[in-house]
Structure formats: structure tokens, C-alpha cells
Symmetry: C2
Subunit: 460 residues, 2 copies
Amino acid sequence: MSSNVQHSLKNIMEPKAIAVIGASTSPGKIGFEVLRNIVEGKFQGDIYPVNPKGGEVLGLKFYSSVLEVPSTPELAVIITPARVVPKIIEECGVRGVKGAVVISAGFSEVGNFKLEEELVRTARKYNVRIIGPNSAGVVNTECNLYACLEYRVNPGSISLISQSGAIGGVLFSYARASKVGFNKFISCGNSCDVDEVEALEYLASDEGTSVITLYLESLKRGRLFLKVAKRVSSVKPVLVLKGGLSSAGLRAVASHTGSIATSHDIYRGAFKQAKVLQVSSLEELFDAAKALALQPLLSNKRIAIITNSGGPGVLVTDACERNGLMVPEPSEDLKKRLSEILPPICSIKNPIDLTAAANYELYFKVLKVILFSGEFDGVIVIFVPPSFVDSLKIAKAVVDVKRLSNKIPIIACWLYGDMVESAVSFLESNGIPNISSPTRIARVMRLLLDYHVIMSGVRY
Amino acid sequence: MSSNVQHSLKNIMEPKAIAVIGASTSPGKIGFEVLRNIVEGKFQGDIYPVNPKGGEVLGLKFYSSVLEVPSTPELAVIITPARVVPKIIEECGVRGVKGAVVISAGFSEVGNFKLEEELVRTARKYNVRIIGPNSAGVVNTECNLYACLEYRVNPGSISLISQSGAIGGVLFSYARASKVGFNKFISCGNSCDVDEVEALEYLASDEGTSVITLYLESLKRGRLFLKVAKRVSSVKPVLVLKGGLSSAGLRAVASHTGSIATSHDIYRGAFKQAKVLQVSSLEELFDAAKALALQPLLSNKRIAIITNSGGPGVLVTDACERNGLMVPEPSEDLKKRLSEILPPICSIKNPIDLTAAANYELYFKVLKVILFSGEFDGVIVIFVPPSFVDSLKIAKAVVDVKRLSNKIPIIACWLYGDMVESAVSFLESNGIPNISSPTRIARVMRLLLDYHVIMSGVRY
């Protein structure tokens, strides 16, 4: 990683003071909403709203220009009309501002290439690094920085680089419904200066980030991206969702970011070579990031499924096999030990079905035996809540066993949504990801294996 | 449909009085929880708890046996220990009870074939029809009947036949998070008497049911099922999720319901011939049922996508093409009309991107032009909520346009979960299904086309 990149992006992502240029007093205007997000998000440094009209906003004094603010902000967030952005960047340069997030739209994405070129020229001249234009902003939950159009998100160790702000918004909504959150978000917009490659390099060495997720539509520096991604993948997992894989999708990308993506086969092959984990939906991107952030990797294919209900056990089993995993029967010895624990009504094959007999004790004992048996590489624990069993207690059994050993991945599948909310919160707060879909949980286990293969070089 | 089936299942599904045999006073026991579900669900007929111990429960008097209850109940719900069930059925027969739902477990599913045979023999002798044993119960939201282990569900026109009670529970939780609910639920359990075939025949002519969903693990009368399904499919859509498609899944099925499923290829081919819509996940089962319950069918492949954000538009486009649908550009004439409505910053190709300019008026006008253009067979409307646009207002635009014409399907994709809850409720209460996943929404559109092909015989 070049320390230059580190330095440039640190100014933007970890500023001590921010100027918000084009801040407005009118709720509903982007210039007001972004400022509100920063203020209500409780940014820990100084905030300088800039607007020549003067006055006050959200308890803060307006400055007439960035030249007038009391200390040099590391970061300028720009929400002015597009045509004045180059001039604003020039002022930022003169004032010594090192980085700018340009939320203003109306550049290359609508064919206004000249204005974007002028912006880049000015930025280079004054050595101001730019994220955007047409960016949804940046987030760093470690310093409560929400310089962003998107709703705020709970903190965590997943970071996101996105060529679409709204994709960030969707993933943030998944995180808010979970206990696993985001660390940093970089909405690249038109990537006129800082692009995915630099953002990736920055996150690679960022301590707060344990998993890097990307939404990509096109890559201007494709070869370099793949080279860097390969290096980063050996340090932390890199998950990519590629938009624009179909022919109509390509056309959509062209009108969205003004650039042309190439064939999806080329991307698929290239991502594989770059040891990047490619996913095929937003749900999968978040599921996998959550599991990778919380759990050890899957070192081989043998999955144990523990359940209190047949149907969901069958569906998870089907999905595991569809994803190239195995759901083998326990050995005779292990079956014997399980049958000593379990009432005869239970199935000791795999899935191990605790049936209506399921309680804290049975889940705890069976899970412990499975975990230490050496016969399985990963465990999926399913629970559906009969009204007479406390779903939180069963969640505690999983967490209690997990404390005894963290060598193999355990993923929970607490079903019935609204009826298990507190149990799911408890699980995820204690490091057990919950994925409430039999189909999606198997896919995530597969990705935990795929990343193990990347890290170890061993193929299965 | 045989009117015999009609008659038998009407007694069970639309009873005027119910005996709850094995009802208990102890919260946490199944005998209490099922009774509570019936009482708290506000069943509109008489409820007779039966337990020889006597006393009261939930404000109702216990009867010592079904022979003592004051009027003949059409339905007996049985939650006693397995070994006494045949004797209970005999008493039911003597009393004139026409149908029983046996929730008690411990029959063929645990190898106790003899007891199940005795149960069937007794039932046949007294002409009592049986659902179960090992059933999770039945639900009919039209008469507030929740004779069931599963949590209650909001009413609607989707009905479910399931070989797993918990699968019903999962689908009910999806419904509770939606405005589209269930009409009837039949948990077959071991299907010792009434099976999937009869249940299907009953729902086929049930007026309250507009869409039939099934979760199947195995079929004892496979050929007959397929024959009946083919007939039913010409009346209303039949959606099937088949569990046990993998080899380990087959083993799991064997321990779950005590029967052996055959190869998944045979099932796939057979379902196709029977004009049944086969889905591959629980999410897809509910998504598709919701759309089929609310929307007209997709008569050809041309999908228009209207969005206020590029990224989600790209992902929906990709998913449409992956599902064999088309996202064609509008004709020159239509583009001209769109460009008269939209500011130049918007994309008038397809996806039609209203960008940050999106408001009620633009969504309404564009949607109306698209709907009446004759150039598209279905519309997907995407919305991500910037904090300054009211997501409910945009939802109103969709509902208002839909009122002008209901000829082609419109599906909404309001993203950002917690931030759009009231808008999604409004959409679904007004007949527009919301599917908050770019990947899943395209799959549902495809199923609307597949059912059109089934109904019309035209292939695309």
C-alpha cells in the first residue's frame, strides 16, 4: 500500500474538522439534509457550514466561504450547484483543505465531461483529493462521521465501497435490522480522482475494517484493481457484487455512471483470479460479510445441522448440497453418544432433529458434542419457536457452547421473524450471525469455505 | 372435484363447534397452547375443552369426554398422548364427530406404524376423517379458526398445504410482515387419511382461496396428485416448494415423515407436466403467492423499470434478463413523450431513472405513459427514499395510476426496509405487492409469465 493513499484518504475519512460547503437552512434540500446527518450523527470534530447568505443553521454559524472558517478543515463536503464546484475546490486548495467529497451531481454522468475535467484539473493543481462528484458521501462510524445522503447505520467492522449510493442505503437498512454494522462507506460517484483501487488500498490497511464489500458497475483501472484486490484478499476478505452483467444492465450502467462495462464472463474470470468473492445479490453480500466478520472460516465441506423442526432442516440440507457442501451422517460412535443424550423420538442422523423435546439443555449438549467431535467443519443451528419454548434461552445455549470453542463456524437460523427478534439480537451481539433463510444460509457457508480456499491455497 | 371431499373437509375447516381433546390448564403444554390459540384467535363457534380431570380453562368448562359435550362438534382437535388416540377417535365416531385434526405425535414418523394403522382402522369404521397425526393443525382465517401450534396470521387469499408445520410458521411470519395474508392452512402431518390430494381438491373449489401454495416432501399418491394438480392449475395457480431434492435431503425427509422421496428430476419433470409452478425457496414461495394474489399475469416478456436510483435499477435489470425477461428501450416516439415529462438529467431509456428529481408527479406521469404505451407487459417500480422525499407519497402515485388500469402487472420495490414501512403497508393494502429485493422481484415477474403460459397455452 502506498502511504500516500493512506494519507490522502485518512484526511477525508478521519477528519478533525469539516467544512460543509453549500449547506442550507431548508429541510428537504440536500444541503440541509447532509449537514443534519453530520450534526445529528454527533460528529466528534468541528463542523463549519459554509454559505455566503450567512446566518445560522442547526445551532451552527454559517461562514461566507471556506477561506473564512476558523481552522483548516481536513475535509470539505460540497453540495453546491455543479458549475461552481471547480471554484470551490480552488478556494479549498488555497485554504489548505486536503480532501473533498463532492456530492453535487451534473458532471460526466449527464454528459458534462468538460466541467468534470475542470474539476479534476483544479484539484490536481491544489493537491486536493476528490471523492465524487455525484457521490452519496462518506461514512466512518468510528468517529461518527455521516457526511452522507444515506440514513445512518449502526457501527461494526464491515466496510463498503460503492458505485451507487442507494446500494449503500439498502445495505445500511439490512445492518439496522441486525446487530452487525458498518465501519466505513465510500460512495465513489463518478470516481474522477479517488477510485475503487485507492479506496480498496485504504480499507486494506484500515484497522477498523475486517471485511471489505464492493458494489461495482465498471472499472476504469480494471487490471490494477484486480492486482490490488489479489493482494488485499490475502489480508482480509473482499466481496464484490457486480452490477451490469446483462446486456440491458450494461445499457443501464452507461446511463448511470457514464461508463461502459465489459462482458460479465470477463469479470467473473477476473474476480476469481483476483481471489475476490463474487456474490449475486445484495442479501448475499450482507449475509456473507456478516458471517465473515463474526466467524472462523469453513475448513472443509462437512456440515452438521441441528434443528427442532423437520421441514427447515430438509431445506437447509438441500441448499447445502446445492452449494457443494456435505451433510454426512455421524459415525456410529458419535451416533451412540448422541443417542445417550437425546430422547428416542429425536433423529440422530444429520440433520439432528431435537423435535418438540428441544430445550436449552439438549441444544447445549448436542452442539457441544458435535463441536468437539472432529467430524464436522461447520454447524448450522436451526430453531423455530413453539410458543412454549423461549427462543432467547435456546440462543443462549448456542452462545454458551461457542464460548467453549471458536474453531469452526456456527451460523444460526432462527426463523419466524417477529417472534424471535430479541433472540436474534442476542445471538448477533454475541458473535453468532443469524441468517433467517434456509437457502441463503447454505450459500454463506459455501463462501466461508471459498475464502478458506483462497487463504490456504488448498482446493476441495 | 368430488363433493365428498368438499363435505369431509368442510367439516374440519369450517366447523360450527370444536372439541379440543387433551386440552390442558398448564401454559407451555401443547394442550394449553393450542386451546389458547383457538380462544385468543376468537373462533366464532362453540369451543368444548375435553379433559377427564374437570375444572375450567381460559373461562371455559372442561368436559370429561367428547361424549359429554352439549352439542355435536363437527371437528375434534386431538392433543392427547398417542396411545389413546384410537380410543378418542372411537368416542368421536360414537358422538357423531365428522372430522379430527390429530396434533399428537408418536406414530409412523417414529416407526410406530401399528398405532397409526389402528388409528386409521378406527376412523374408517366410524367414518371420521383425519388430518394428521403429527399435524401442526389447521387454520381458517375466514372463521377465525386457529386450531394450530403455529402463531396466528393475518387474513388473505393465499392458502397453504404443508407437510411441515414449521414451514407454515415461517410463511406466516412473512405474511405478518406484509399486508397480504393467508386464508387456509392444512398441516398434513403423516397424511394417514386426508392427504395433499384431497386438500388440494378442497382448496381448488374454496372461494376464499385465490392462490394455493404447497410444501411437499413426499407424495404417497403421486400420479393422482399430478392429475388433480393439472386440473386445479387451470382454475387457480398452484405453487410448490419441494423439500428433499438432494441425497442428504432425502435421508432427512425419511426421518422426518417416515417416507422416501424419489429423485428430484422426476419431481421437476412431473411438476412441469402438471402445470404446477415449482419454486426453490420459502421467500420465492411467498413472494410469488403474494404477486399472484394481487396482480394480473404477465402476458409477454417486456418489462419497464422505473426507478429513482441507478444501482438498484441496474440490479433489477440484470435479474430480469437472468430470468429470461427483456428490458427493452422505449420506441423513439415513447422516448419523445417521456422527455417532454422529465427533466434532462433523467434517463429515458429503460430503466427510466427519475434521479433526485423524483416526486409524486413524475412517478405518476411516467408510470401512466408507460402503462398505456402498449410497449410493455409489466412494470417494476423502484424507490429508495432520500430523506427529503416522502416514500408514502410516491407509493400513492403508484396506487393512483394502478386505479386507471389494471391490465398489466405492477410490482413495487421500495427499498430501505425500516424507512419505508408505512409506504409498503399502503402499497400492499392497495393491491401493489412490494418485493424489497432486486433479485427476487425479477423471479416473481417470471412466475407471473409462467402462469400466463400455463393458462393460455402460448409459449414464449
